[in-house]
Symmetry: C2
Subunit: 224 residues, 2 copies
């Protein structure tokens, strides 16, 4: 007897469980609010630095109370995570949605390249912010957490594509290699003055990093 569950057999969120698209209307509203807060936080962090910015200032700038801010983000520095994670989120989504008959490595490289070449307007904004925010040492923790989360999601996505008996260490290595490739590419791009497209762009750097880091993985020779 773990939980008391008398009347409603399913304690899930609310009424109007959507049969159609995955994200609930409320969830989309919440995601939109998260982005607004992230935008305000990024401006403050870029201007004064994360150290000198209080959580209350971010909340006020976002038009919400301090208490509500901490319902959207568990830590002050996490407020910019939606911007830092924008690329990674899109990347894993593209990989998951790619044709399942495509070899894993092909799918990884293509979705990475596509996610690193911002076509969307907010994606361009996120990239610009990333470059600024990476300079703040106080945000290093958030940057690392974003990639740890990304690696975990990617690991699950890769595992779903592989046959059941696949070595888990191989899957972990593939996820770690691919995530590290994206991270190093973005860090290198942020340090350089290269533009968001063309030579030295995240897309080019990412392709090269991905190729070199994933070349030696055994995973590709066993499943395709």
């Amino acid at each position: 007897m773990l939980h008391r569950r008398d009347v409603p057999p399913i304690p899930s969120s609310a009424y109007a469980e959507p049969v159609t698209g995955r994200p609930t209307l409320n969830q989309r509203r919440r995601e939109s609010t998260r982005l607004e807060i992230a935008q305000a936080a990024a401006e403050l962090f870029a201007a004064r630095g994360a150290e000198a910015t209080t959580a209350e200032e971010i909340a006020t700038a976002s038009g919400i109370s301090l208490r509500t801010f901490y319902r959207y983000f568990s830590e002050k520095e996490d407020a910019v995570a939606p911007l830092l994670a924008a690329g990674g989120e899109r990347w894993v989504r593209l990989f998951t949605e790619s044709a399942s008959d495509l070899p894993v490595r092909e799918a990884l490289e293509r979705s990475a390249a596509e996610s690193l070449s911002p076509s969307d307007a907010p994606a361009v904004e996120a990239l610009r912010w990333t470059r600024d925010l990476l300079r703040d040492p106080r945000l290093a923790t958030a940057w690392q957490r974003v990639h740890a989360d990304s690696e975990e999601r990617l690991r699950v996505a890769i595992a779903d594509r592989c046959p059941p008996g696949t070595d888990l260490l191989e899957i972990r290595l593939a996820a770690a290699a691919a995530t590290a490739a994206i991270r190093v590419a973005l860090e290198q791009w942020a340090r350089s003055g290269a533009p968001a497209t063309g030579p030295g762009s995240p897309r080019e750097l990412g392709a090269r990093c991905m190729r070199e880091l994933t070349a030696g993985l055994d995973l590709w020779t066993r499943v395709n």
Copy 2:
């Protein structure tokens, strides 16, 4: 005029600057204190979890005041960093001290394997603690920071070995690949019930991860 520095032109530590061994006596004492605190913190974290342990409890268990604790560690969770970083520290040190005529890749693999097979008694302890501490989600941040620092130190060490004109991106990739290999190997070992030596040990897993992740790097074909 950034700082006021009138009388002493060099603000370095103390008297008795040692001409011989690198670490100052005071620094060694400090390092020893750090380890004692880390030991006490690890026991508390493993028993009650990092969430339910206050910084003051760690300080009291270490026989120091709360204020002094924060002079040794900037955050509560960082208190166990010396244990989590023990392997990585030794690894970079072994790599740096290895014969300079040894090819970079050889030196990397050998020092990694050696640092992952604990011969020292405290190294065995650190490994045992690592397995326990990795279960605490509250310590994930410290774990990630430890490896970010390790990657940075390794990057510098690799750069020192390479000829001046070497592509910085290649060096970054090598450092990232090697650090990720160690991290994945330790995470996999911690999840499994494998012993510290023999089959499934960190040394064996590390060798395999290192081989697969660094196989595709261009760096080896240009410098040796």
